[in-house]
């Protein structure tokens, strides 16, 4: 990161978020942050609370306590539309695309370009779709087949392109590499690098360390609804992180960073 980045404010901060379902604390006072041009993994076992935490950001849940700060300004996110208004886009694993529509139709679903007469302007939409998708993935060619005919990685490109068209600055990706092959996973990795360069902040949610370790700059690890800690991937090994996920303990050499709400300014930003 350049020196310029040192002065950057976090793109989004979640402070002291609390949610419980029927007496069970799903998220218990967790604070995380995300800087522009940064990829942050949110890791934890199933039930660790990572999905719940992220759904607060995408507008699916409203927290009982806590603040969400976007660009230094506190915001209320009560539904998906609020999230979108704050340039937060979520890419869900299977819910993102209509299989029978082609790439352009999916990209513009819900905000189609229409002609003056009110009819769909498929030409203009395909044109824009080619532009956006070409930037993300120069090999993308199948503009006129339904997305069901696309590979997993190509589908992921379409889903990401869709978020970009919404002018997303904060991208939440739920298990981005689940069910993808080696080649495809690499493709998604390239996509994410591309977005990083464009200054987006990306949150990767996964229960699989290997999916996100190489892609992420930092990792927030959760267990039992609490934040175990936040580490830079350059400071830790896979084993360190596995220890955090399974035992819920910070690695010895990073003990000084431990504790709830320990959102140290990332090494590569500071």
């Amino acid at each position: 990161m350049s020196d310029k980045a040192a002065h950057k404010k976090p793109l989004v901060e979640m402070r002291d978020i609390h949610i419980s379902f029927g007496g069970v604390k799903a998220v218990d006072g967790v604070s995380i942050d995300l800087y522009p041009g940064e990829v942050v993994g949110v890791l934890g076992h199933n039930g660790a609370g990572k999905s719940t935490l992220i759904k607060v950001l995408s507008g699916a849940y409203t927290p009982e306590r806590g603040q969400i700060i976007v660009d230094g300004r506190e915001v209320k996110i009560e539904n998906a539309r609020d999230a979108r208004d704050n340039n937060i886009e979520t890419i869900y694993q299977n819910l993102a695309l209509a299989d029978n529509l082609d790439a352009a139709q999916n990209l513009f679903l819900g905000r189609e370009i229409v002609t003056r007469a009110g009819f769909l302007d498929d030409g203009a939409m395909e044109h824009k779709a080619r532009e956006v998708l070409h930037r993300l993935n120069p090999n993308f060619k199948k503009f006129n087949s339904p997305v069901s005919a696309l590979s997993g990685g190509q589908r992921q490109s379409v889903a990401i392109a869709r978020a970009l068209l919404f002018e997303a600055r904060i991208l939440i990706m739920d298990e981005p590499c689940a069910a993808l092959g080696v080649q495809e996973t690499r493709m998604v990795g390239d996509l994410i690098d591309q977005l990083k360069k464009d200054g987006l902040g990306i949150l990767l949610i996964s229960h699989d360390l290997h999916d996100v370790f190489d892609l992420s700059d930092r990792l927030h690890v959760m267990k039992n609804g609490k934040l175990v800690g936040t580490v830079s991937t350059r400071d830790v090994t896979h084993d360190d992180v596995l220890g955090m996920i399974i035992l819920g303990k910070m690695p010895e050499h990073l003990m000084h960073l431990a504790g709830p709400g320990a959102t140290n300014v990332p090494a590569h930003v500071a």
Binding site: L95, N100, L101, E112, F119, G123, S148
Partner: protein, 421 residues
């Protein structure tokens, strides 16, 4: 051949269906000693198919959104009764007999009530969450019962003289000259659409089909329109009816003068208008795009901001509206409205749609496919009737064809569709 079709970007399924239709026609023609492919039979076929074809257009959208409507035959029945009573019992109290406004008011009332009935069923499906199968199965019973209640079972006849033109018949056609005009307009539209589409794609620098493919495509479509109009114009009025018309016009009844063409029947014209409008709606409007998006992935559509519940109501209301159009066509054709009108039509309509390539799983289907499907169904029925096949055997054959059609579609789709192509 396969590559040729791919180059021309023609729906392979459509070609298969057209071939099947042609085989059926030629087969019946050979078996009946040349009585099937005649102007007269083709004209009758166009009129007989109209009612089911109109409803099939709406059913495509219903099935594409992953629903089903089993009530269309009964809705047709109740609407035919209501429209019958409006034009024969209610309006004559205010308007003169066969007043030119009678059929307009009647049809308008029918369309509104049809949309309301469909809309109510749509609310039950979309907002109350009752499966469409159940809602419309209930509707099938409710509206058939309601059809009886409108007049306590009495058949309504005779209908308004202008209204019955909607059903075809001797006067219910537009004649030779207007048929030619319609053909010219249609061909001009085909060429214009092809040129505009190509120009648009070129302006965005998208790949385009080779020019020869473009020309062949347009030529085939224009050729079909021409053949259809030539055929329908070659069917002359019966000599007695022609004599009457000539007498009215004060012309001598010479052999040439007696050759008065039927031309395009009004119900066929209605089908054409409905099909074109709905194809534009399906392909070129937000509404249509959302119908297909819901069929492809309801959650994705919902997340994209599509109001799935409201769309469900709209699609069912549209279906009800089209039932009113079909009710007008079929009661006008019989020149009376009986409470059993449209019985079992739901099955004919669904069969036509499914034969036409619409997937019951949703998300996939075309209006023109459904039209050909309806034509296939009606051709089988008319052809067998022409050959004097027992009614019982007719249903057996049609039932088997339906299953075979879906099977072969699945089979060929699996074999020839390369998911990575």
């Amino acid at each position: 051949m396969t590559q040729l079709l791919a180059k021309m970007e023609i729906d392979r399924r459509l070609v298969g269906l057209a071939v099947v239709l042609l085989i059926i026609w030629i087969g019946f023609d050979l078996a009946s000693g040349g009585r099937f492919i005649t102007p007269r039979n083709m004209f009758n076929l166009s009129v007989q198919t109209a009612s089911v074809a109109v409803m099939a257009c709406g059913m495509v959208l219903i099935i594409v959104t992953r629903h089903i409507d089993l009530s269309v035959g009964s809705i047709l029945g109740v609407l035919a009764m209501i429209m019958g009573v409006i034009q024969t019992d209610i309006l004559p109290q205010f308007l003169a007999y066969n007043h030119p406004m009678t059929w307009i008011i009647t049809l308008f009332a029918g369309l509104v009530i049809g949309a309301l009935i469909g809309g109510i069923q749509g609310v039950a499906v979309g907002y109350l969450g009752v499966p469409a199968f159940i809602v419309t199965l209930g509707g099938l019973l409710v509206w058939r019962g309601a059809a009886w209640w409108v007049t306590q079972g009495r058949t309504v006849a005779p209908l308004d003289a202008n209204f019955i033109l909607l059903g075809g018949g001797i006067n219910g056609t537009i004649g030779a000259m207007w048929s030619w005009i319609a053909a010219i307009v249609a061909i001009a539209a085909i060429i214009y659409a092809a040129i505009m589409d190509r120009r648009r794609r070129l302006s965005f620098e998208f790949p385009v089909k080779p020019v020869w493919a473009e020309c062949t495509n347009a030529a085939v479509k224009a050729g079909l329109v021409l053949v259809a109009v030539i055929t329908l114009n070659a069917y002359y009025l019966p000599s007695r009816a022609a004599e009457k018309i000539l007498a009215q016009r004060g012309l001598p009844a010479t052999p040439e003068n007696l050759e008065i063409s039927h031309g395009i029947a009004i119900p066929l014209l209605i089908v054409a208008v409905v099909a074109i409008v709905l194809t534009v709606v399906a392909k070129r409007t937000r509404f249509g795009r959302y119908v297909y998006a819901i069929g492809g992935n309801p959650q994705a559509a919902e997340l994209a901001g599509v109001n799935v519940k409201r769309m469900t109501v709209a699609v069912f209301a549209l279906m009800g509206l089209l039932c009113a159009v079909s009710a007008a066509i079929s009661s006008a054709r019989l020149q009376s409205a009986g409470n059993d009108l449209g019985t079992l039509d739901e099955l004919r309509v669904i069969a036509a749609v499914v034969i036409g390539g619409t997937s019951l799983a949703g998300g996939v289907g075309t209006i023109y496919g459904a039209l050909i499907g309806a034509l296939v169904m009606q051709s089988l029925q008319s052809g067998m009737a022409l050959l004097g096949v027992d009614t019982s055997l007719q249903s057996i054959v049609i039932g088997l064809v339906l299953v075979l059609a879906v099977f072969s579609d699945k089979y060929f789709h699996r074999r020839y569709s390369d998911p990575t192509a």
